[in-house]
């Protein structure tokens, strides 16, 4: 269980902020008592005050609970003393696909239960996630853009760079397939066909891992995409797929997100897949505590150790099979 939100029931610390706040309320009540006339208005203000104050008291106390000094993990099962964490919060900056696929929602509760850590997942594009790592604003990163990740590894921003899992990218597009992608096996040839036929292509355009992958594929094909047929959505994978479906365009997507959304995307189909260059590789890495002293390296290490554990790797490999008949991710950790 997380403390934070409902945790105020358990906290033994006086709600300092709340008290301060109450004193405001008292002052205002004093105003009310001091004023004469306008009983309706008094009623109005009292009502408003009571309403907002009651909200605020609950709000305040809950926030105090969240800022209160960490209490030792309550479960007797907490494995090692090192893991009844001194710094209980881990900021995990990750790509939207790991959250949108539901994988993190399945993994995090297990991890939290075991270790007493609280994982704060910030799901953003890979570019933003890596930037958070570069600035020491996250403790651990989970992303899928090996070339960009290497830059951080080389700069020493991150350490413990660990191969985690992969899935793959696929080209989806309108079922009538004006560029004829179904008959093409290679990504670069497929992109050339899209350009030749001036078929609409929707790019993420958001510096995400998928966008980086797409750009590197265009580069491999020796094409600099531009023109009315090449449009950037500037939004996440789900939105971009919706746009492609609405506009009958092609786009590049990770398989997991597409499978998740398939039901809403009846006008799209997978047209080109399984080219080895389309592998989508996820790494996990800890932000370097030697560069950023505020990072929670212990927490980051615990999260990485958890992900590469055999049973969790198996869990990743089975995730999604029940719902989609095929796994969404393939575990790769040694």
């Amino acid at each position: 269980m997380r403390t934070g939100l409902m945790g105020y029931e358990e906290t033994r610390h006086p709600p300092v902020f709340g008290k301060e706040f109450l004193s405001h309320g008292e002052t205002m009540c004093f105003f009310l008592a001091g004023a004469d006339g306008g009983s309706m208005f008094k009623k109005f203000l009292s009502l408003l005050l009571v309403l907002l104050l009651s909200l605020s008291i609950v709000g305040c106390t809950s926030e105090v609970a969240e800022e209160a000094p960490p209490e030792p993990a309550v479960e007797d099962t907490a494995p090692e003393p090192a893991l009844s964490p001194e710094t209980p919060e881990i900021i995990l900056a990750t790509t939207t696909s790991t959250q949108d696929s539901g994988l993190l929602d399945a993994l995090i509760p297990i991890f939290e239960e075991e270790t007493g850590y609280m994982v704060k997942t910030i799901a953003v594009g890979t570019g933003a996630a890596l930037a958070m790592g570069e600035n020491g604003e996250a403790d651990v990163l989970m992303t899928h853009a090996p070339a960009s990740e290497q830059v951080l590894v080389d700069a020493g921003n991150v350490i413990d760079y660990t191969l985690l899992m992969h899935n793959d990218f696929v080209f989806v597009g309108p079922t009538d397939d004006p560029a004829g992608l179904t008959d093409i096996a290679e990504a670069s040839a497929g992109l050339a066909a899209i350009q030749d036929t001036q078929s609409l292509f929707i790019s993420r355009g958001d510096d995400s891992g998928t966008h980086k992958m797409e750009l590197s594929l265009w580069m491999d094909a020796g094409i600099e995409p531009s023109g009315a047929w090449y449009q950037e959505s500037g939004s996440g994978m789900g939105d971009t797929l919706n746009i492609a479906a609405e506009k009958n365009g092609y786009t590049l997507t990770d398989r997991a997100t597409y499978l998740n959304l398939q039901n809403n995307l009846t006008t799209l189909a997978i047209l080109l897949e399984k080219d080895p260059v389309l592998n989508n590789i996820y790494h996990v890495m800890a932000v370097n505590p030697a560069q950023f002293e505020k990072v929670n390296y212990e927490g980051a290490s615990a999260w990485i150790a958890f992900l590469v554990r055999d049973d969790i790797q198996d869990f990743i490999g089975e995730f999604g099979v029940e719902e989609f008949g095929q796994p969404l991710f393939f575990p790769d950790a040694e």
């Binding site: 109005f44 709000g59 939105d239 950023f292």
Partner: protein, 232 residues
């Protein structure tokens, strides 16, 4: 169209069955936005009143700033708050980035210009001379404050409604400084955006419906009191 109908059905199901996660998200939404509104009222009404009646150098400039602030995109507020609250930002030592407290701060910043600007307009709309009369009758500062509040009550109620409406519906700032963390900083608006991105459009519509009902409920309450007051 089916999506809309199914979404509304889903909303009703969530409400009737009391889905615990939705309940918790709704409660958090109400807590953060309610408290942000209250804080902005406590700060904004005296501030607005001061700006409205006290002539000093730069006053018009300040009012114009707050008037502009009424249209400030929440994302911009969120970005500013982020820069201050990041670990390596000036207030990083507080360690409140990605928390409900950070969302509260951002929403306070969003609501305050609205409350201030509405208050300025409301107070300045009082017949000229009332303020001087009150002072001439020997009212203390507190009494003056209270009498002016009474005079401008309808406008001030509108200020509260506008402030609350702005913060309960904003998503950009909450997403940026709260992080939409499950069970911790997820509110109705950020949950809606996430469900859209996941492709769960029906759930998104359901969340949006609950948000609208909530906003409507609170606003209705405030409006009833305001209008009763107008006719009394």
């Amino acid at each position: 169209m089916d999506i809309l109908i199914n979404g509304i059905k889903e909303a009703l199901r969530m409400i009737i069955q009391g889905d615990p996660e939705i309940f918790q998200v709704t409660l958090l939404t109400l807590r953060i936005s309610g408290l942000a509104t209250l804080l902005s009222v406590v700060f904004g009404i005296p501030m607005g009143m001061f700006l409205a009646i006290k002539p000093f150098f730069g006053r018009r400039f300040l009012i114009s700033i707050f008037n502009t602030g009424m249209g400030m995109p929440p994302t911009v507020a969120g970005l500013w708050v982020s820069v201050f609250l990041w670990r390596y930002g000036p207030f990083g030592f507080l360690n409140i980035m990605y928390s409900p407290t950070a969302m509260l701060i951002a929403q306070f910043i969003i609501a305050s210009p609205l409350v201030i600007a509405f208050t300025v307009a409301g107070i300045q709309n009082i017949k000229p001379g009332v303020h001087e009369q009150i002072k001439a009758l020997g009212a203390t500062r507190m009494q003056t404050f209270w009498l002016l509040v009474k005079e401008a009550k309808l406008a001030l109620a509108a200020a509260v409604i506008a402030g609350f409406g702005a913060v309960i519906s904003e998503v950009g700032a909450s997403m940026m400084v709260g992080g939409n963390i499950k069970g911790y900083s997820r509110v109705l608006t950020t949950a809606t955006v996430m469900e859209v991105s996941k492709g769960n459009l029906e759930v998104a519509i359901a969340l949006g419906t609950i948000l609208l009902l909530l906003a409507y409920g609170v606003t209705l309450l405030l409006t009833i009191v305001q209008q009763r007051e107008a006719h009394s």
